[in-house]
Symmetry: C2
Subunit: 246 residues, 2 copies
C-alpha cells in the first residue's frame, strides 16, 4: 500500500514533508486535511492521529506524526533518499538532531509566535497581541542571529558546514517561509541583518525546485491575499487556518 501523507499546505511542517517526498521520488497519496475547517479534529482523522495534528503519515501499519520524526523515518525507510538528507555518519547525524531540537525551542516559537500575534490572529477569530508579538520577535531575532553566526558559520551553502541539504535545512527553511505573510517592510526589517540566512533560504529553495515553489504556491497566494487586504485596510476574511499544527 502506498504511503499516505495527511497534510495542509498552509502548515509549514506539512510543506516540508511533501517537498521531501517529491524531491526524493517517494510515491505517496496526499490527503488534504483542511485546518481552517478543523478537519484535523474530525472523528475520521482522529482514528489516524488521536492528537489531531498534521502532518501525519501512514506507511503500512505505522501511523506517525511530528514532522521531524516523519522526515527521519522517510530518510531511513526509503532507499531512494540520498545520504546527505540524514547521514549515516554518527557525528553528522547527531548534529542534525541537535539543530532539529534547537528548532523546537527557538526558531519555531519565535517565527510562529510572531506571525500569529502580529498578523494572523484576527483572521482566526482572535486579536493581535503586541506584547506577545514583541516577546516572540525577541526569540525570532535571537534565533536568526544564532542561525547566521553559529549554524551557518563558514562558507558552506547549508547548515553545519554542508554543501548539500539535510532534513534540517528543509524543516527550518519551511518554518521561516511562513514569514512571507508579513507586511513586506516588516519582513525585510527582520531579515535584512541576516544575509547568510537569506542566501541559505534561497540555496534550499534552489536545491528542491521545482517542488519547493509548487508546494509553497498556496502560501504565495495567501501572501497576495493578505497584501490586498492590508491595502484595503480590512482583515474580515474567513479563517485561513494558518498556524502551525505540529
Amino acid at each position: 500500500m502506498k504511503l499516505k501523507v495527511y497534510a495542509d499546505r498552509m502548515s509549514q511542517p506539512s510543506r516540508a514533508v511533501i517537498i521531501f517526498c517529491k524531491v526524493n521520488g517517494i510515491e505517496f497519496d496526499e490527503v488534504l486535511i483542511i485546518l481552517a475547517k478543523r478537519q484535523q479534529l474530525s472523528p475520521e482523522f482522529k482514528e489516524i492521529n488521536p492528537l489531531g495534528k498534521v502532518p501525519t503519515i501512514v506507511d503500512g501499519r505505522l501511523k506517525l506524526f511530528e514532522s521531524h520524526a516523519i522526515l527521519i523515518y522517510l530518510s531511513s525507510a526509503f532507499p531512494s533518499v540520498a545520504d546527505h538528507w540524514y547521514p549515516n555518519d554518527l557525528s553528522k547525524r547527531a548534529k542534525i538532531h541537535s539543530v532539529l531540537d534547537w528548532h523546537h525551542s527557538n526558531l519555531r516559537p519565535g517565527a510562529a509566535g510572531y506571525v500569529m500575534n502580529s498578523v494572523l490572529a484576527p483572521f482566526l477569530g482572535g486579536s493581535l497581541d503586541s506584547k506577545a508579538a514583541a516577546e516572540a520577535e525577541q526569540i525570532l531575532t535571537k534565533s536568526l542571529s544564532t542561525l547566521e553566526t553559529f549554524w551557518l558559520k563558514g562558507n558552506a551553502k547549508f547548515l553545519l558546514g554542508s554543501n548539500q541539504p539535510s532534513i534540517a535545512d528543509l524543516s527550518l527553511v519551511c518554518e521561516l517561509m511562513q514569514l512571507q505573510v508579513l507586511d513586506e517592510k516588516d519582513r525585510l526589517r527582520l531579515f535584512s541583518p541576516y544575509k547568510k540566512v537569506e542566501e541559505w533560504i534561497e540555496n534550499t529553495r534552489k536545491a528542491t525546485q521545482p517542488h519547493f515553489d509548487v508546494v509553497h504556491k498556496t502560501l504565495y497566494g495567501a501572501k497576495d491575499k493578505f497584501e490586498k487586504q492590508r491595502k484595503m485596510g480590512t482583515t474580515t476574511v474567513s479563517k485561513p487556518g494558518f498556524q502551525s499544527k505540529m
Copy 2:
C-alpha cells in the same frame, strides 16, 4: 579520551544524560557547570558550546548539545547500550522520535513554565506571574492527560506499549521530576488524576536505580530547602539556577 559530560544536576536534561550513562556503564567525566553561577556563559565553556547550554558532551572531536540528540548519539555510539533504549527497528525508533518531539512542544513548556512562574522566579531574581503560571498549567495538564490516555495507553510499564524503558521514558520522567520542588499539595493536585503517569514515573525510577535517586539527590535536597522556606514564609535565598537550560 574519555567522554566528557558538562552538566548541572539541577537541570532536568542534565540529569537524564548522567543517569543514562551510569545505567549503561558508559564511562565519563562529569564536568560541573554551575548554572546558578552562570558558568554556562563563561568564555571557557563557550569554547565548547557557543550557545552556552547544558548538558553538552565532548566525545573525541564531537561537541554536542541538546539532550535528546545526546541520548540518541550515546545509544548509537556505545555498544553497551541495550537495544530497548533506542531500538534499531525503524517503526519503534520513529515512535520514540515522535514522543521526543512532542515533549519539546508540550510537556517541556508546561512543566518548566509552571515551575518557573509558580515557584522559582523569586529565587532567580524575578517575580511570580500568576497569568503565565495559569497558562503553563493548562499546557501541563493537557500534556499529563495525553500521557495518561495516549502515550501510556494499554497496560505496559513504559511509553508506547513497551515493557522496557527507552530514552523517551528517561527524558520525560526527568522533566516531570522538577515538579518535586512544588508545594506538596499543589503537586498532588496536579498529579492525582493521572495514576498511570505516577506509576510510569515509579517504573522508570525503579528501572534506573540506584542511579536515578543518586543523581536526583541534589533536587531532593532543594525540595527540602524550598519546603522549609515555605514554612518560614520567606523566599530570600540566593539564585539556585533551577531552570532548564536545554
